[in-house]
């Protein structure tokens, strides 16, 4: 079985807080991450795809197509942005875990349809000391 992983980077701001909690309660749940004016990270985003290696091209995915797909669906949306202002995080706290799930949702179909590969895993590296990873369910492009 063969997999290919590509690492991307984006810088974004966020604050971890729940609208249904008071400021004190948010601080007790999220600590300094709940600082109301927010903070930011240089995120690393590791996208792992699987599939078959095409014997002609020797590749399992076109890197250019994968780059374009991630640029269009994730980078253009999240890079140099305040994640809390994105509709995806209107009611969802933008933790590394939830960002990983959001990226999975944004990419599963588009990687299949636009890059012809299967999204296998998404890893969001928030700092050098923590990352969150979700394994994706296999998806086939229905419109291919």
């Amino acid at each position: 079985m063969i997999r290919l992983t590509r690492r991307y980077r984006f810088a974004a701001a966020h604050v971890l807080h729940r609208h249904d909690l008071s400021a004190d309660q948010n601080f007790s749940v999220y600590g300094k991450c709940a600082n109301p004016n927010g903070h930011g990270h240089n995120y690393g985003l590791e996208i792992t795809v699987g599939g078959k290696v095409d014997p002609e091209s020797g590749t399992l995915v076109s890197i250019a197509a994968l780059d374009e797909c991630v640029q269009k669906h994730v980078m253009d949306r999240f890079a140099q942005c305040n994640l809390n202002e994105d509709a995806l995080f209107a009611t969802l706290v933008p933790t590394a875990e939830n960002i990983a799930r959001a990226v999975q949702d944004l990419l599963t179909d588009s990687v299949a349809c636009e890059a012809g590969a299967t999204l296998v895993a998404v890893r969001v590296v928030e700092t050098a000391r923590n990352y969150a990873e979700v394994e994706a369910l296999a998806s086939e492009c229905v419109n291919r």
Partner: protein, 135 residues
């Protein structure tokens, strides 16, 4: 069962090139990768097994180092993948293909059932895993 990983590094030149095509057609087909270029590759080889109770080792890492040196580094380091190795006469030296070539070299050099994963970094932002079936 547990896993141990050892890394090795090698630097090679390469180009994506189909000898059946003209230079112009190769340029069209493979773009900038059709030009001679190079990478600092990093290889991580993961073995699986039960440590020998006497030594505490899945495998002596010195032996693994020697295998990686002989099977991989000596073949590829400071060489041209297309011109100096026999593996890319009929296939393009993509990281996918190179990782599978290395996997095939290691599977015959290592004790049966021990190889778990070959991870080949073409650079820090792109890598390929070849995973062996679970036993």
């Amino acid at each position: 069962m547990l896993r141990i990983t050892r890394a090795a590094e090698f630097c090679s030149s390469l180009r994506y090139w189909d000898p059946a095509l003209s230079a112009a057609a190769n340029q069209r087909r493979f773009g900038r990768c059709a030009s001679q270029h190079g990478h600092n590759y990093r290889l991580e080889v993961t073995l699986r097994g039960v440590p020998d109770p006497a030594t505490g080792m899945v495998m002596d890492l010195k032996d693994l180092k020697e295998i990686l040196e002989r099977e991989v580094v000596a073949r590829f380091d400071h060489r041209d993948l297309n011109g100096d190795t026999p593996y890319f006469a009929k296939q393009v030296p993509t990281p996918e293909n190179l990782a599978q070539v290395i996997r095939d070299l290691l599977i015959q050099a290592l004790p049966a059932g021990m190889l778990d994963r070959v991870r080949l970094y073409q650079d820090e932002d792109l890598w390929v895993d070849v995973l062996e079936e679970a036993l």
